[in-house]
C-alpha cells in the first residue's frame, strides 16, 4: 500500500511527462479539458485545502489567457461583436480557452511534480543516466547551503568589526565584494579537504556503483506498463482526431479511435488519484478495524 508519491521516481517522471506531453503535442479540446480537470483534481487530492492562493492565481491566469487570444487574433467566421473596428470571434475565443486550459493544466501538473520530486529523486533519475553527473549534483547540493551559512557568518563577523563603517550603500557594496572574494578562497580551501576525503575513501579506483534508496517493485512495473499502454492508445486516438478552430470549428475523427483515445487519456490522468483514493480508503478501513 504505497501512495503515489512513494512510487519509483522514474515511474513518477514517466507519468508526468506522459500526461503533459499528450496535451502539449496535440491541439485537442478533449485532451486539454481532461488534462486540466485531472491536474486540478490530483493537486487538490494531494494538498487538500492548503495552497488556495495558487488556485486563485491560476484561475486569474486562465481568464487572462482565454481573453487575450480573441483580442489579438481575429480569425474565424462567427463574429460575436466588434471592438474598435476589430471583430471578436467565437472561434478565437474558444481557441484561447483551449490554450489556456492546456497551459494552466500543465502548470498544475508541474507544481504537483515539483512537490513530489525532491532533489533526492531527481538525483536518482540523473544517476540512471550518468552516475558522475549525479555525484557532482549531489556535491553541489551539499555545497550551496554550506556556502550560504559561511557567507552569513563572515558578514556578521565583519559587521561586528565595523567593516561597514558608514551607513552608505557604496561602502556596503565594497564590503560585500570583499566578503565574496574571501568566500571564493574559502571554497577552494574547502575543496582540497573534500577531495582528500574522497580519495581516502577510494574515489576513482574503478567502476562505481550507484546506491539509492529507491527500488523497482512489482507495483512500479505494473504502473509503468499500464502507463505505457494507455499512452499508446492515447497517441493512436490523437493521431486519428484532427481538430481545427479556424475558420470553422471542425472535428474530423474516426469514432472508435477517438473514443478509445479519450477514455485512455481519462484513465491515465486519473491513475494517481485512483491510487491515492485506494490508500485513503484502505487506511480508513484498517483504522475502523483497530
Amino acid at each position: 500500500m504505497r501512495s503515489f508519491s512513494e512510487y519509483n521516481p522514474i515511474v513518477i517522471a514517466v507519468f508526468f511527462f506522459s500526461v503533459a506531453g499528450v496535451v502539449m503535442f496535440s491541439v485537442n479540446p478533449a485532451f486539454s479539458s481532461v488534462s486540466l480537470a485531472g491536474a486540478v483534481l490530483l493537486f487538490t487530492v494531494m494538498n487538500g485545502r492548503k495552497r488556495l492562493k495558487l488556485h486563485l492565481w491560476l484561475f486569474t491566469l486562465f481568464i487572462i489567457l482565454a481573453l487575450a487570444n480573441p483580442l489579438v487574433s481575429h480569425n474565424g467566421r462567427t463574429v460575436l461583436f466588434v471592438l474598435n473596428d476589430n471583430p471578436v470571434t467565437l472561434e478565437a475565443l474558444l481557441y484561447g480557452v483551449n490554450s489556456a486550459a492546456m497551459l494552466v493544466g500543465t502548470i498544475y501538473w508541474f507544481s504537483s511534480f515539483t512537490h513530489i520530486m525532491t532533489a533526492e529523486k531527481l538525483l536518482y533519475i540523473t544517476g540512471a543516466f550518468s552516475p558522475k553527473i549525479s555525484l557532482v549534483l549531489s556535491m553541489a547540493l551539499r555545497f550551496v547551503p554550506m556556502f550560504r551559512t559561511q557567507a552569513k557568518k563572515v558578514s556578521d563577523a565583519q559587521k561586528a568589526m565595523g567593516l561597514f563603517k558608514e551607513d552608505s550603500i557604496i561602502d556596503d557594496i565594497r564590503g560585500y565584494m570583499r566578503i565574496f572574494s574571501i568566500l571564493i578562497t574559502w571554497a577552494l580551501e574547502n575543496g582540497i579537504t573534500t577531495a582528500d576525503s574522497m580519495t581516502a575513501r577510494g574515489y576513482g579506483i574503478g567502476r562505481r556503483t550507484v546506491f539509492s534508496r529507491f527500488r523497482f517493485t512489482a507495483a512500479d512495473i505494473v504502473f509503468l506498463a499500464v502507463n505505457i499502454i494507455l499512452l499508446g492508445v492515447c497517441s493512436f486516438g490523437g493521431m486519428n482526431m484532427h481538430f481545427s478552430f479556424y475558420p470553422d470549428i471542425t472535428l474530423s475523427a474516426e469514432k472508435i479511435p477517438a473514443i478509445a483515445g479519450t477514455s485512455a487519456y481519462i484513465l491515465l490522468v486519473l491513475m494517481p488519484v485512483i491510487i491515492e483514493t485506494e490508500v485513503t480508503v484502505k487506511w480508513k478501513y484498517l483504522q475502523s478495524k483497530i
Partner: protein, 553 residues
C-alpha cells in the same frame, strides 16, 4: 599480532631544510588504541598522512611503512582505500554528499559494491551509531558532533582494519567530543578495531588509550603506556599541560611510579596519600568596579514567530574591567546573548545597555568604534586578505604592545596558520578598533593546551589595561583559570553566577575534573595548582616527603 610497522621513517617537504618527520620507528599491535600527541607543528599530521597512501604528501621519504606485513606501496588500490580508514579534523569539509545515507554509501559506491550489500552495510552502520533517526536528512542540517560521527561511520562502513584519526574532536564542544571518544572506545573494545589518533584534548582520551606517543620537532620522544609517559615527562610542563588533571597533579607531587589518569584514580590517590585537615585555600577576592560595562535587563529573543524563546528574561550585569565567563550546554542561549549585545540579532523585548547607553542609541554603527568588539566562534570568518600583514595593516592594528610575536607569520595566508595562531591574529585584528568591551565566542575551541595558556595570558594583559572581557565557553578548565566571575546559562537565562572557586565547587557535574576529584576531601580546590598547594599543606599520610606536618589527623 602486528598490524602496522614504521621503520626509521624520515620525511622532508619540498623546499624545506628540516625534516617534518625525523627517524620515527614504531609498531602497532592489532586491537590497540594509540594516542599521538605533541604541540602544533610537531609533525603529527604529516606522520599520520604517511600512513594513508592516498593522502601522503609529496616530498623526500626514506624508511618503510608495512601494513599487515606488506609495504604500503604494494597494497592494491582497493585494500589501501578500504583497509585503512582516515578521519580528518574538519566536520564540515570532509563530508562529500548532500544526504546522510548517501555519505554513508559513498565509500562503498567507490569500491563498486553491489546495491544490496550497500543497503545492508549502511543500515547496519546506521543502527550501530544511532544514525537511524537522521538517516534521510540533509548533511547540512546536522550539528558538528553529528557530522563528525557521520564521517566516522562513513569510513567504518568500508570495514577498515586500521582507523587513523587526525584531531577529530578539535572543532567539537566538550560534550560532543566526549561522546565521540566514547564511541571510539566502544569500537576498540567491542570490535577490536585498531585505532591511531592524534589529539590535543587529552583529558578524555588518555585514560582509555593503550599507548601514548609524544612527538616533538618530528621526532618520537615517548612511546609507552600513558601512566609511564607522564612520569617520564614530569620536567616538561609544556607537554604535560594538555594531560588529564589527575596526572598533572601527580606529576607535580611525585617523581616516579604510575600516574593516575582518570578522576576516579586521582581521587583514590589523594585519599590514600594525603591528610585533609586543611580543607580550603584562601581565595583572594579580586577588586571589581561597580560600574556595569554590559547590562541585560529582562531580554527576550526568538528567531521567528513560532520558534521557542532562545533568551527568556535574561538579567545580567558585567562590570568594568572583569573577565566574565558564561558556561552552559548547547542551545542554552549563550552565543545568542553575545550576538544580541553586538547588535547582530535584535531582542524583541527588554533592553541591553553597553556602558550605560542603550544599544539603539549607538547611531551610525558607532557601537563598533572604540567601544565593543565581537570575535565569533569561527575565527576564519574574520579574515579577508591574503597575508597576515595585509590583515593587520588593513585595520591599522598596533601589534607592538600585543603580548605575542607575529613576526614569523606576517607573510603567511591566514588560513594556513594553526588554530592558536589564527585565534591570536583575529584577536589582534579585532583589537585594532580599541574596544573597551570584548566579546569572545568559544575562543579555546581547537587550541592545544599551550596555545590556550598563551591566550589566557593575552586576556589577562587586556584586563590589566582596563578592557572588559565576556567569554562564552564550554571549557570549564579555562574558565576556572582565567575568569573573575563565571555564570551558568540554562534555558535562555543565567541560573547562577559567582567567582570561579565558589561557582565550581558548588556545581557537581558542570565543573573542573579537579573539583570532582577533591569533592568532600577539600572544599574549594578547582584548579590543579590549588589542589597541589592543599596536598602540600596537609602533608602525606606516611609522612615521608611532606612540606609541613599535619596539625591534626
Amino acid at each position: 599480532m602486528e598490524i602496522l610497522a614504521v621503520e626509521d621513517m624520515t620525511f622532508t617537504y619540498p623546499k624545506c631544510s628540516k625534516p617534518a618527520v625525523d627517524g620515527v620507528s614504531f609498531t602497532v599491535d592489532s586491537g590497540s588504541f594509540i594516542v599521538l600527541c605533541g604541540a602544533t607543528g610537531s609533525g603529527k599530521s604529516t606522520l599520520l598522512r604517511m600512513l594513508k597512501r592516498e593522502l601522503s604528501p609529496l616530498g623526500e621519504l626514506s624508511g618503510e611503512v608495512r601494513f599487515c606485513g606488506k609495504p604500503l606501496a604494494e597494497l592494491s588500490e582497493r585494500s589501501a582505500a578500504a583497509d585503512i580508514g582516515f578521519v580528518m579534523q574538519s566536520p564540515e569539509q570532509q563530508i562529500v554528499t548532500d544526504k546522510v545515507w548517501h555519505e554513508l554509501a559513498f565509500g562503498l559506491e567507490n569500491l563498486g559494491v553491489p546495491q544490496s550489500d550497500i543497503a545492508r552495510r549502511t543500515a547496519e552502520m546506521a543502527s550501530y551509531f544511532g544514525i537511524g533517526a537522521w538517516y534521510g536528512k540533509d548533511t547540512s542540517e546536522l550539528s558538528g558532533g553529528q557530522k563528525q560521527l557521520l564521517s566516522l561511520a562513513s569510513v567504518l562502513v568500508m570495514q577498515p582494519k586500521l582507523l587513523i584519526l587526525d584531531e577529530p574532536t578539535a572543532q567539537l564542544d566538550p560534550i560532543a567530543a566526549a561522546d565521540f571518544i566514547a564511541t571510539l572506545k566502544r569500537l576498540n573494545q567491542e570490535l577490536g578495531l585498531t585505532i591511531i589518533m592524534a589529539e590535543h584534548r587529552l583529558e578524555d582520551v588518555v585514560p582509555v588509550c593503550s599507548r601514548l606517543m609524544v612527538m616533538e620537532n618530528g621526532r618520537l620522544i615517548a612511546n609507552a603506556p600513558a601512566e609511564e609517559v607522564i612520569v617520564s615527562l614530569r620536567e616538561r610542563p609544556d607537554i604535560l599541560c594538555g594531560m588529564p588533571a589527575a596526572s598533572r597533579l601527580y606529576a607535580k607531587l611525585e617523581e616516579q611510579g604510575r600516574s593516575p589518569l582518570s578522576v576516579r584514580d586521582g581521587r583514590k590517590y589523594i585519599e590514600e596519600n594525603f591528610f585533609n585537615s586543611v580543607r580550603a585555600v584562601k581565595v583572594e577576592k579580586s577588586e571589581v568596579s561597580s560600574t556595569p560595562a554590559l547590562e541585560y535587563k529582562d531580554v527576550y529573543f526568538r528567531y521567528s514567530k513560532n520558534s521557542p524563546d532562545i533568551l527568556s528574561g535574561l538579567e545580567l550585569k558585567v562590570y568594568k574591567g572583569e573577565i566574565f565567563c558564561m558556561l552552559g550546554g548547547n542551545g542554552s542561549g549563550k552565543t545568542t546573548s553575545l550576538k544580541a549585545a553586538a547588535g547582530l540579532v535584535k531582542a524583541y523585548s527588554g533592553s541591553i545597555k553597553v556602558f550605560g547607553k542603550k544599544l539603539k542609541d549607538y547611531k551610525n554603527r558607532s557601537l563598533y568604534r572604540e567601544c565593543l568588539a565581537f570575535l565569533p566562534q569561527d575565527v576564519q570568518t574574520v579574515f579577508l586578505k591574503n597575508t597576515v600583514k595585509e590583515e593587520l595593516d588593513e585595520v591599522g592594528a598596533d601589534i607592538s604592545g600585543f603580548p605575542f610575536d607575529f613576526s614569523g607569520l606576517m607573510d603567511k595566508h591566514p588560513y594556513d596558520l594553526s588554530g592558536g595562531q589564527q585565534q591570536l591574529t583575529a584577536l589582534a585584528k579585532v583589537l585594532a578598533a580599541k574596544p573597551k568591551l570584548l566579546l569572545l565566542d568559544e575562543p579555546t575551541k581547537g587550541l592545544d593546551a599551550s596555545a590556550k595558556l598563551e591566550f589566557m595570558g593575552v586576556l589577562r594583559k587586556l584586563r590589566e589595561n582596563g578592557t572588559t572581557v565576556v567569554v562564552v565557553t564550554h571549557d570549564v578548565e579555562f574558565a576556572a583559570l582565567c575568569a573573575d566571575r563565571c555564570a551558568l546559562f540554562f534555558g535562555g537565562q543565567i541560573v547562577s553566577a559567582g567567582g570561579p572557586a565558589e561557582f565550581f565547587s558548588e556545581n557537581s557535574f558542570y565543573t573542573t575534573s579537579i573539583s570532582r576529584m577533591t569533592r568532600g576531601i577539600f572544599d574549594n580546590a578547582v584548579t590543579v595548582e590549588a589542589a597541589v598547594e592543599l596536598c602540600r599543606l596537609n602533608g602525606r599520610r606516611n609522612g615521608s616527603v611532606s612540606d609541613k606536618k599535619p596539625t591534626s589527623a
